[in-house]
């Protein structure tokens, strides 16, 4: 209705450099604790959990963090991020399998493809605002889905199978579970650090300004569309990095990676963890993936649970886990 004045402030509670110095120090301490916990987890996880499971977690965590760059820090809801995740998985898989690219080059190819696709989708979608943006991204992602389904090299309903893991830098055999694991952990960490840097760069501050008040950012002389497009391309590329890595780990790319339901899942991960928080998407991805594993025995009831979680998050829990935690700890950014 008409009362939309405080729309954007509710998307996330992230605000940089507000509050007194003591506040900021506390914020920094807690962020430090989260970083230590995250890196500690990355190091010892294979000793506690199945490496494959942890690698799946990390791929989705990176995917969600990339998505959060748009929804949480630019205020744009993309409903088509599966296109970048899944599309990159297919391209990386094809490069690795058919063209015989080495692992890192394969992943880079998938990531670059996602960036290019992100540029194409983004430049169309930013022509409309708000809710239309979401619908356009969803519809454009559906084109990608149909292409994946119909193009000759994708394997149709079966997906692209038998992607070789190969040797990292020519000598590290990625068929060794631990070698694969630490490669994925490193990719995740690099991707996550890139996102962290983007958020805290002057560029990221402009994105925040756009999220808070687009007309004002425009009147301050920022080329809002260019900032939005660049954010979209970066987010798509990082989602592609996650998708390519997943294709390498699981050695196949499947239709589900490109399906709209995947776009929905990444939204849920981010929403549940906390839109506009730094660590939220990682936490959200962990919870959703763990939930799916725990419930894998009950068939499509999983979908009911996921849908129910969506409803509950939107109605009762819009700050998400990390957002609520930050509020309890009385800090601005976590």
């Amino acid at each position: 209705m008409q009362e939309m004045s405080n729309t954007t402030t509710d998307i996330g509670e992230f605000e940089e450099n507000t509050g007194e110095p003591e506040h900021r120090t506390r914020s920094r301490i807690w962020q430090g604790i989260f970083w230590v916990a995250l890196i500690g987890f990355l190091l010892i996880a294979p000793a506690l959990l199945y490496p494959v499971f942890v690698m799946q977690l990390l791929c989705f965590a990176l995917f969600a963090a990339a998505f959060n760059l748009l929804i949480g820090f630019t205020g744009l809801l993309s409903f088509g991020h599966a296109a970048f995740f899944g599309g990159a998985a297919y391209i990386a898989g094809h490069a690795l399998k058919v063209w015989g690219f080495p692992p890192l080059l394969g992943i880079a190819t998938g990531t670059l493809f996602a960036a290019a696709l992100g540029w194409a989708v983004g430049s169309l979608a930013i022509r409309r605002q708000g809710i239309y943006f979401a619908m356009i991204t969803l519809a454009l992602a559906q084109i990608v889905y149909f292409l994946v389904l119909q193009l000759p090299f994708t394997g149709g309903e079966d997906g692209l199978q038998g992607i070789p893991r190969g040797h990292l830098l020519g000598f590290i055999d990625l068929n060794q579970p631990l070698a694969m694991y630490y490669t994925v952990a490193a990719i995740f960490l690099i991707g996550f650090l890139v996102i962290y840097r983007i958020i805290h760069s002057p560029f990221g501050q402009v994105l925040l300004a756009i999220r808070e008040n687009e007309p004002r950012a425009l009147s301050l002389g920022y080329n809002v569309d260019r900032f939005k497009l660049l954010a979209f391309v970066l987010s798509a590329a990082l989602a592609g990095l996650a998708g390519s890595t997943k294709a390498l780990v699981f050695q196949f790319a499947s239709l589900t990676d490109a399906h709209w339901q995947m776009s929905g899942e990444v939204i849920l991960m981010t929403l549940l963890g906390g839109m506009g928080t730094i660590f939220g998407p990682v936490v959200g991805a962990f919870v959703v993936v763990a939930l799916q594993h725990a419930l894998s025995g009950i068939g499509s009831w999983v979908q009911v649970v996921i849908g129910g979680t969506f409803i509950a998050c939107v109605l009762l829990f819009r700050r998400g886990i990390v957002g609520e935690l930050a509020r309890l700890l009385k800090i601005n950014s976590l």
């Binding site: 009362e3 169309l124 605002q129 708000g130 356009i136 519809a139 499509s300 009911v304 998050c313």
Partner: protein, 301 residues
């Protein structure tokens, strides 16, 4: 008649038949969006619910109440199922959506997305995911009619005519009646309409019910044509979104016309390059975004 023209006409008719559903669903979506500023992602799922209710009324409801021989047929379902869907919609509005109006509209999109997953998941659990044929098509609508250029199923012709009447009636009600003028006023300035003493929250709830009821009605109409499946609405809603981006949600007539026209275009595309048929609407959306970003009937924002 030239076989090519004959083929185009035939595919055009089949396309028009899909266009019926595009038109009815985007109409409901536009009615809801106008007053509530909500994009109802669950619209496809409610269409699916309408089709399933028709199926359930025919095949199961009798047995549930201990009357195995009772089959509630197509005509009663055409009234009952949309009413039930409308009631379900009103419950969602009253207890969920209403709490989100002061927030960014993306939250209501996400909420209705969650509703979609729940509905879809439930029906996948209880029914065959690949679809169940609807056995209750009325005797009077079976068979074919000769249109001169093709033999066309009588039922499909009925659906086309019936839905054109429904769309026109809805358009007339909104654009030409007293109730419709309140709705349009509410779309523009709900606060002032409330100050005039009109119960806007009630109007909003009824409007949402009406829009979702239209989706349910489309579902009943679809049941005898397509097999009734839990996923029948999911893929459709994405096409509908593209239709709505092309037409713009600002105009009732625009939503309806765009829906019919795109069905037609899709059907004719089948004649020339069949693989493109399921993407042609999306490609048209891309073209519209490039040349007329606000949509064909969209108001300049």
């Amino acid at each position: 008649m030239d076989p090519m023209i004959r083929l185009i006409l035939a595919q055009g008719m089949l396309g028009l038949n899909n266009g019926v559903f595009y038109a009815m669903l985007s109409l409901g979506l536009a009615v809801i969006f106008g007053l509530l500023n909500v994009v109802n992602f669950a619209h496809g799922a409610l269409y699916m619910l309408g089709a399933f209710l028709a199926l359930i009324l025919y095949s199961y409801a009798g047995a549930w109440v201990g009357l195995d021989a009772l089959h509630i047929g197509f005509w009663p379902a055409l009234i009952l199922a949309p009413l039930l869907v409308a009631c379900f919609g009103m419950l969602i509005e009253r207890f969920m959506l209403r709490r989100l109006y002061k927030l960014d509209p993306i939250y209501s999109l996400l909420l209705t997305f969650g509703v979609t997953l729940v509905l879809q998941g439930l029906f996948i659990n209880f029914f065959n995911a690949s679809g169940t044929p609807y056995p209750g098509m009325p005797e009077s609508l079976r068979g074919v009619v000769n249109l001169g250029f093709m033999m066309f199923p009588k039922y499909r012709l009925f659906v086309i005519i019936f839905s054109i009447i429904v769309c026109f009636a809805v358009w007339y009600m909104i654009e030409r009646t007293r109730i419709g003028s309140r709705l349009r006023a509410g779309t523009e300035n709900p606060e002032l309409v409330k100050a005039f003493g009109i119960n806007v929250p009630l109007m909003v709830m009824l409007t949402f019910g009406f829009g979702t009821g239209l989706a349910g009605l489309a579902g009943v109409l679809a049941a005898p044509i397509y097999s009734v499946s839990p996923l029948m609405g999911a893929n459709l809603i994405i096409v509908i979104f593209a239709v709505v981006v092309i037409g713009g949600m600002g105009s009732i007539a625009g939503a309806v016309l765009t829906g019919f026209a795109l069905g037609l275009v899709e059907g004719i595309t089948k004649v020339f390059y069949a693989p493109a048929a399921n993407t042609v609407i999306f490609l048209l959306m891309v073209i519209v975004l490039l040349v007329r970003p606000n949509g064909l009937f969209g108001r300049q924002s």
